[in-house]
Symmetry: C2
DNA sequence: ATCTATCACGTTATGATATAACATTTCAAA
DNA sequence: TTTGAAATGTTATATCATAACGTGATAGAT
């Protein structure tokens, strides 16, 4: 759970909620959390604004295929992350994809496309849920 | 624009709409299209059901970061596709990512994770929109 | 031929995700 | 102290997606 500085009050609350969660949280799940409620965050827009700022600061990643958000596992990083997302328990593992950066860049360059943002998400079953399925 | 067989009436309509579109379409954009309207498709669920079947058949891909759908550029393929998505005009280029498959598999294997679905989306500016921005 | 299981489809309602518009507060730089 | 930018509050609304339940077409079994 990374520490963060220079956050506003609302951003800090939202970041704390995500940092303590063991899987990605939707904006409305964050809104419904005890921590958010205790601190007076009670409108969706409040959450979305904080999330936008946190994503800009690269402290939080948006998981597109879940419409949810997860605190970054590492120090804030510009390079693309990849996520292994369990479709059963939603637990999500973050990893970097440096090995693919060159391939992505080459692909984009071929199309004269300027990449600003890369999303890599792999959905499937985590080890625990596979074991559970077998039992 | 690929041809498709074994589609139901609704699926064929939705597929035709996507095939003629020059960029990904949301379910509600499809719903609002002339072709859909002419053919009596008038409820969101009708569109979503057809889309689900088309995605299952791999004739259509879902673009997670747009909540939209695009007809597959190629013959139906099981291997993951990657998309270059212009944030300005939304035009989207599909390409395959065979070069990354090994890396993805290795990453998953390390976590004992079974991958079922891979999403690769790159957002940025297409060549046309870059030129336009400069002028 | 008709029964029955299955699948696609229709219809209505509702749930879930996200943003627009505008007012107010905060707070630090000038 | 003024004042301007950023953050926040509040209300309303837009956008995306599915639940629940009923109907009609199709096809194999009897
Ligand atoms: Zn990260
Ligand atoms: Zn799991
Ligand atoms: Zn494809
Ligand atoms: Zn463009």
């Amino acid at each position: 759970m990374a520490k963060a500085t220079g956050l506003t009050h609302n951003q800090q609350i939202v970041f704390d909620v995500l940092s303590h969660a063991d899987r990605p949280q939707t904006a409305y799940e964050i809104l419904g959390s005890e921590l958010a409620h205790e601190n007076g965050l009670k409108a969706p827009l409040t959450i979305y604004r904080a999330l936008e700022a946190l994503v800009d600061k690269a402290l939080v990643h948006r998981i597109e295929s879940l419409n949810a958000f997860i605190a970054c596992d590492h120090e804030p990083h510009p390079e693309p992350a990849a996520f292994l997302i369990c479709r059963n328990c939603r637990k999500t593992h973050e990893t970097t994809m440096e090995a693919c950066s060159g391939i992505f860049q080459a692909t984009a360059r071929q199309q004269l496309f300027t990449v600003e943002q890369v999303t890599i998400e792999m959905s499937g079953l985590c080890a625990e849920c596979q074991a559970q399925a077998r039992s």
